[in-house]
């Protein structure tokens, strides 16, 4: 089999806060390969869409991923010259505005030719407000203002856009692995009901959707799991052939590592039942998956299976109306833990005087921080053990609909400056809107997807 019979999928970003420059090396690597090549930027998370809708609400020309063009612009020249389609879900709440901005950027570069496709239809917010969402959708009980309403759409629109000649495909809430499935169905003309091959494509997308998390990012544990050149992990690449052979590798010359351990960790990432991982495109079964080391930074994947895609699609609703408040103060030196613990007692007493039964969450960073729980059971367990910690940060946090109540609680942390235990310092506080999400389901045939060209 020659390289021309292969397809290469590279992910240049795995979340909106990823590093833009790694994708430039990836684009150059892809451009040097022969065969079908695709560059994908995955930029959405559960909450991102609600935040994007809020930006769109204040400016109709916004609402796409705010750093979208920091990712796309540096690779645009390389990809257009080499015929590498760029695919992203960074259109978020406003793919059309993203396409218009991309057109402006192309015009500013001398009117470079490019066909830009927007994948539309996943955004049901207007339909929600007009009461026009299918009566067959199953929603949970909702309280608070609905800010976003999207359905995780599948690969077919991406494939269609590529078949119709798109150089750039801008999606909203297309499911993360479906971006890769759409590309591979385009490369090999795989059909949506070819479960075995859609399963392989879905595994490829699943492994790559968090970008460097499969290639040495989020992996290093000195002495146990060491990573070469950990400051520069390279973007991952999936090499796929028409029969469904799959190899995971990474950008040539980059740091990081791809081995069976990195692939295993990412394979189960955010997965529940490994025998039935639901996506819009297939029900994936990796129960018999086999990983083979094929040399440095190359892992082969076999034995994945698929069953026909679910009849219903999953949707996600962003809900506003709540606030997230946090305030912190530090205690250090002799007796730091005891003074911080006393500050906690004082805050709990003051909170119950503000409102009967009010118990804010309080962590003591250095003693019990991220492992702690809302009731402080873990904190009490840790305080009961002897400790040599002498630099502790008290953190009070609360999520509530009552903004004024949160303000008063944060005031109480600040008031510890003059009223609390000795030697407290370094108060910081913040109060931001809290966006919740709830999921819902919609029968597949009730979602109408479409393409718009720019």
């Amino acid at each position: 089999m020659s390289a021309l019979d292969k397809a290469y999928i590279g992910y240049g970003a795995g979340f909106a806060g990823d590093r833009p420059e790694a994708a430039v090396s990836l684009a150059r690597d892809l451009a040097a390969r022969r065969g079908r090549r695709y560059l994908i930027f995955e930029l959405l998370a559960e909450r991102t869409l609600a935040e994007a809708q809020l930006r769109r609400r204040s400016d109709p020309e916004q609402g796409y991923a705010s750093r979208l063009f920091r990712f796309i612009e540096p690779v645009l020249g390389i990809c257009l010259a080499a015929g590498i389609p760029i695919i992203t879900n960074g259109g978020a709440a406003n793919p059309v505005a993203a396409a218009k901005e991309l057109r402006r950027i192309l015009d500013a570069r001398g009117g470079q030719e490019a066909r830009i496709a927007c994948v539309l239809g996943d955004d049901l917010l207007d339909a929600w407000h007009a009461g026009l969402v299918s009566a067959r959708a199953r929603f949970p009980q909702l309280d608070g203002e609905v800010i976003s309403c999207n359905v995780y759409s599948g690969a077919e629109s991406v494939t269609q856009a590529l078949q119709e000649g798109a150089d750039v495909v801008i999606c909203g809430r297309t499911a993360d692995p479906s971006l890769a499935v759409g590309a591979l169905c385009h490369a090999f003309r795989w059909h949506a009901d070819d479960c075995a091959r859609i399963a392989v494509a879905t595994v490829a997308g699943h492994l790559l959707e968090c970008c460097t998390q499969v290639s040495g990012g989020y992996f290093a544990d000195p002495g146990r799991k060491d990573v070469p050149d950990p400051a520069h992990p390279g973007c991952p690449i999936a090499e796929v052939d028409a029969q469904g052979g799959l190899v995971i590798t990474k950008t040539a010359g980059s740091g990081g590592i791809v081995d069976r351990r990195t692939v295993k960790e990412q394979l189960l990432y955010e997965m529940h039942d490994p025998h039935a991982y639901l996506t819009p495109d297939v029900v994936l079964d990796i129960g018999c998956v086999r990983l083979t080391s094929l040399g440095p930074d190359r892992v082969g994947i076999e034995g994945v299976a698929g069953r026909p895609r679910p009849a219903s699609l999953k949707g996600i609703i962003g809900i506003g109306g709540r606030w997230f408040g946090e305030a912190e103060i530090s205690y250090a030196g002799p007796g730091a833990v005891e003074r911080a613990a006393l500050a906690r007692e004082i805050l709990l007493e003051r909170a119950s005087e503000l409102q009967a039964g009010l118990v804010p969450r309080i962590d003591l960073l250095g003693v019990a921080g991220v492992f702690n729980d809302d009731r402080g059971e873990w904190l009490r367990h840790c305080l009961a053990r002897s400790s040599t910690v002498d630099d502790v940060r008290l953190r009070l946090a609360i999520v509530d609909a009552d903004r004024q109540l949160i303000e008063w609680l944060l005031d109480e942390v600040e008031a510890l400056y003059t009223n609390g235990p000795a030697g407290g310092g370094g108060v910081r506080r913040s109060l931001v809107p809290a966006l919740r999400t709830e999921s819902f389901t919609l029968p597949r045939e009730d979602l109408a997807m479409s393409l718009a060209w720019h």
């Binding site: 559960e46 909450r47 989020y218 544990d221 146990r224 799991k225 351990r261 295993k264 960790e265 990412q266 394979l267 189960l268 990432y269 955010e270 997965m271 529940h272 039942d273 490994p274 025998h275 990796i286 129960g287 018999c288 998956v289 086999r290 990983l291 034995g303 997230f324 804010p360 969450r361 962590d363 960073l365 921080g369 991220v370 492992f371 702690n372 729980d373 809302d374 009731r375 059971e377 873990w378 367990h381 953190r395 946090a397 609360i398 999520v399 809290a434 966006l435 919740r436 999400t437 999921s439």
Partner: protein
């Protein structure tokens, strides 16, 4: 061999990564040495997991052994205090909880 040496820190024999969906945490945990998979399957019991994560009040715990990967997918329901968009915790995803798992002390495997 004294008492203390009969226990092993899970982090010495296995590696793990946590992921979140809503209020559900999953942790993929894998032995470094495939020969330890049976030991992991036996000792990392639902009962021990329930005790170790008791302060997060799991409503349900599922274990999916993955023999071909030398690991287990653990799914802990209700432990993220509402999840990334509702929790007041510092690590609202529960990403660091992979290392809470790896801080478990289990009966050491028999010498081979």
């Amino acid at each position: 061999m004294n008492e203390a040496k009969c226990e092993v820190l899970l982090a010495e024999l296995a590696h793990a990564r946590a992921g979140d969906k809503g209020d559900i945490l999953n942790i993929g945990v894998f032995v470094f040495d495939p020969a330890d998979f049976d030991w992991l399957s036996r000792e990392l019991s639902e009962e021990r997991l329930r005790r170790h994560f008791a302060h997060r009040r799991p409503t349900r715990i599922e274990r999916y052994p993955m023999p071909t990967l030398g690991g287990i997918n653990l799914v802990l329901h209700g432990v993220l205090e509402g999840g990334v968009n509702a929790s007041a915790g510092l690590d609202r995803h529960g990403k660091t909880l992979s290392y809470h798992l790896l801080s478990m002390r289990l009966p050491a495997p028999l010498p081979r």
